[in-house]
Symmetry: C2
Subunit: 588 residues, 2 copies
């Protein structure tokens, strides 16, 4: 071993001990004839000191040290004269009597500091240097802790970790697969899994009643900022359970993770909200409930006052924005332009200022008396000093626009605090959505999601309005406005499954072709089962108070799906193409 201790562990109680440390030179500085070296490793930083009267050879070696040199340092632990309370090792230093240079470093292209001078591109190319920085180190240590505690909880609750294959079969449904040409079966391909969904259901059929896996998944999608072509799921499935059992089990898991990893108690029980309420009150299927500012429908209240915008609207909704009655005309205009951007898509923004003195100022003063405006303010639960924003339109669209405005104002007003955690189960999703273009029903989730038992009467109805009422036995885990996971109780009954295919317009032959292997397994005694999956990358980011999942992945890809550190993807040898019997088309 090149060291007796790490750079993070020595304390006053170690004073007088002879120690050997090893690590990277963070910085060196000279002060009154003495040289100070900050030595860094994964565990922390320890200050090394060489006195002015040290042997010449030692002083020379120390003088030759550059940033990021790897050294072994031997010396005695001493109490510091000027202590640094910000550092765990800030009360001690090492009086050096030997330094061995284990490896030199050329000058890094950016500083290895919490705030670095390196841009995104260069840090991605030299990811191994970026990973030396504290913020990334903390992110990966958090991820390590989360995965260990996750497995521990699941193991303690009798879940078996079972590895499912990565070389599977391409399915024509859902997102695009990455495929892998088979050399031994020319012209044929494996696919990389988008999730182990079918395998975990197969494991339930096989009798492994509690399964989990922390597993890589792959989707060849056009990438957005927060998407990676490969990502990690905490994937779980249980047999002989109903929705309540699944929610309790994973509520317990999240509670344990929060407690053990962050030392935080989250609400018990975690609140639940129906998808319909989430849409009506938050304009989102993943509400951020860290703050209020809920959406209120005021359609009935505002009709018939001669204001055609309201009178002609199928829906009028409003939110009371905390303390923004003081907004200037210019600020309100800016907000109006903001909701009119194509990304939001509102036609405009009607406002009411609820002044501190109780008076109102609004863009609808012409149509509404102060008493009528006051009743609107009351309906919207606006306080003195609030700004009411009103948006009209089709109900769901206007709700989403109001929800988007709500999130924006939450950000601007600092209401979305990264150290506050407000988990939420969203439940009772619609099972079907009407596909106007194809004039048929789509399954909102996948076609193995079960209807809620109490909605079976609608499920078997011939009426379109009944089918629209059927809720899925499905659930999402939402944290601070981000969906961290979701799942459902699956259909295990043959008749229910047949009816599902009938409703979504799949023939027997099509169902067989698309899902044959799973359907076949189900003939041999499928138990009632259900499960869910959490997105680990996102769980880690949110636990870390960040929304950049890339910082929580050791070696992420960029927006073009490239790993710029290793320069991949790349060309392969002609001989490899020959073995695979593949040609690359000329006119790409």
């Amino acid at each position: 071993m090149y060291r007796t201790n790490t750079c993070g562990e020595l304390r006053l109680s170690n004073v007088g001990q002879q120690v050997t440390l090893a690590g990277w030179v963070q910085r060196t500085r000279k002060l009154g004839g003495m040289t100070f070296i900050d030595l860094r490793d994964r565990y922390g930083i320890t200050q090394l000191v060489v006195k002015a009267d040290a042997p010449e050879a030692l002083i020379q070696t120390v003088n030759s040290l550059g940033r990021e040199y790897v050294i072994q340092a031997k010396g005695k632990v001493a109490e510091r004269e000027s202590k640094n309370p910000k550092m765990d090792t800030g009360e001690i230093e090492i009086l050096l009597d030997e330094v061995n240079i284990l490896n030199k470093s050329i000058t890094p292209p950016f500083t290895i500091e919490d705030k670095t001078d390196g841009g995104d591109d260069i840090r991605a190319r030299y990811r191994y240097l970026d990973l030396r920085r504290n913020p990334l180190k903390k992110a990966l240590m958090l991820r390590h802790r989360i995965t260990q505690e996750t497995r521990k909880y699941l193991d303690e609750h009798d879940f078996m970790e079972i590895e499912t294959p990565y070389l599977i079969k391409s399915t024509p449904e859902g997102a695009r697969d990455f495929v892998v040409p088979s050399r031994m079966n020319p012209g044929e391909f494996y696919a990389l899994p988008q999730s182990p969904q079918t395998f975990k259901q197969i494991l339930m059929v096989a009798g492994y009643d509690r399964y989990f896996q922390i597993v890589r998944c792959f989707r060849d999608e056009d990438l957005r900022a927060d998407r990676q072509p490969e990502f990690t799921q905490i994937d779980c499935e249980m047999s002989f359970v109903e929705q309540e059992d699944v929610l309790n089990m994973f509520e317990g898991m999240m509670r344990t993770l929060f407690k053990k990893v962050l030392g935080i108690d989250i609400p018990n029980p975690i609140p639940r909200m129906s998808w319909f309420d989430a849409m009506d009150y938050y304009g989102s299927d993943k509400p951020d409930i860290r703050y209020g500012m809920k959406i209120h429908e005021i359609t009935d209240l505002v009709k018939g006052h001669g204001f055609s915008v309201f009178d002609e609207a199928p829906y009028v909704g409003a939110i009371a924005i905390d303390g923004c009655a003081s907004y200037s005309r210019k600020q309100i205009d800016e907000l109006t332009e903001w909701v009119k951007r194509p990304q939001v898509g509102a036609k405009g923004l009607v406002y009411i200022k609820v002044n501190e003195d109780g008076s109102f100022k609004s863009s609808i003063d012409k149509f509404f008396s102060p008493v009528e405006v006051a009743s609107i303010a009351k309906a919207v639960e606006a306080k003195k000093g609030d700004l009411i924003g009103i948006i009209v339109g089709d109900k769901r669209k206007a709700e989403v626009q109001l929800g988007t405005l709500r999130i924006e104002m939450g950000n601007r007003l600092g209401l979305r605090k990264s150290d506050v955690f407000a988990p939420l189960w969203v439940v009772d999703f619609p099972l079907f959505e009407w596909n106007e273009e194809e004039n048929r029903w789509n399954a909102v989730h996948h076609p193995f999601t079960a209807p809620k038992p109490e909605h079976l009467k609608y499920y078997y109805s011939d009426k379109k309005e009944d089918i629209a009422k059927v809720c899925a036995n499905a659930y999402d885990f939402v944290l601070n406005g981000t969906e961290l996971g979701g799942g459902s109780i699956r259909i295990h009954d043959h008749d229910v499954q047949e009816r599902m295919f009938e409703i979504i317009g799949l023939t027997h032959e099509e169902a067989e072709y698309k899902f044959g292997f799973l359907m076949n397994a189900f003939k041999f005694g499928a138990p009632p089962h259900g499960g869910l999956a959490f997105g680990l990358d996102r769980v880690c980011a949110l636990f870390g108070g960040s929304d950049t999942i890339r910082d929580y992945i050791a070696f992420p890809k960029n927006n073009q799906g490239r790993d710029v550190m290793i320069d991949s993807p790349s060309k392969i040898d002609q001989s490899q193409l020959d073995e695979l019997k593949l040609n690359i088309r000329e006119n790409k």
Copy 2:
């Protein structure tokens, strides 16, 4: 929840309780008006009973049950009249008062019993049914236990679990890569990792001084019985360590696994053997030391007696086969033919019987006096009743042939007991081997494996015989004749690395092309580091006393690399090929 208890947990102490179980019907039988049902789940089997005087509806339901039906059973726990001591639940039974059929099953194509009537192919196709059988269930439960305990040990020893990417870059070295065409970068490919070797070394450069990962690896090799195109490694790396530190750390891990998973104490310390001794005494780089029967060189002892086979041989070696002096002429002839098979390749087998009465009978009586034969027997450490087998030839070849004979006789004589565990470190491998064809040195491992520090003098020598002497700072973990893992201390010194490339005849340009990205990272302060990887599939099989890794993988592929359950690999849609800008060659 569909159940209050599992089928493995009820005992005499539960008698009188009202319980609900759920599971699969293993079998039903009628006996004197009563019906017995064996109900199975992951945890065990519980006997259900319906008495002759039960309600008619219940009797009818029970009569309709077929094998592998999924049912929910409610009733009272009662003490059995005739107890079954072989079952954990054998002292109780459930007196049923309600049975609900949760799902029916068509007749399985083979019996779900410990000994099944299904052949390999049909069991692979219906893997989900095969997985219901006890032997496979036990195998997967063992695997679960091993992975949990592995992570626990490594976490407790400050290892961080860090996920490395699956979509990486094809390298022209080593085994064949599986490649993944990139749609966003047409004509370019990712490769699936054969191991995270370069990434774990990068992580050491990044300062993560203790890394581990239980990770899938991929090799597109022509498959042999015990090979899978995807397999799982316990992959580890450490910084600031020497070989002794790595061996101690992972010896501790294996000891912990044996103790916690199997309740077995393995030798402390685990014996170590140099590669040279392993070859000389066992004719193998992965000796099975559960039994003796060591190889003895008797070249000097047997020369000059007029027996040209010995006189002309560069090497003569022998093993004493336990208690086989009683072999008939026919048996010895069979053994001689066995070693002459091309798979072994010996020219013949000279034998000496050491009879129980102390006399000898051999195929070399003409050339050796009884006293001389006795001295051979002594040199080979043969006891009365042993059969000495002698093989001649080139030293290493003859040793391997003797080693193969030793393993065969170990199998025939039942000396290779699956419940005896004899771990071993094999160390001090040669760093280089001479490539006769290309007239140059090859690196035996990869070219980042460090020479042993005490051999640096040979390493920098110009003489071929010195280079041949250089041992690698490398180690293999061997259990019962199987290599379970291996690794090395890596080169972190720039000069040592340059010399490596010089010895194996790589130019700077070639080294840059092949290993550029890692070499570049090494310029920024690489710490001394080393590590190893264990093959998890094989670890599980050996712990389970089996040599069939396929039983320890939930969804393995067959010898043609196919998953016959899901029928993969398979054709993909033309639209997928179009998006990837690929053509499949016509004349495959």
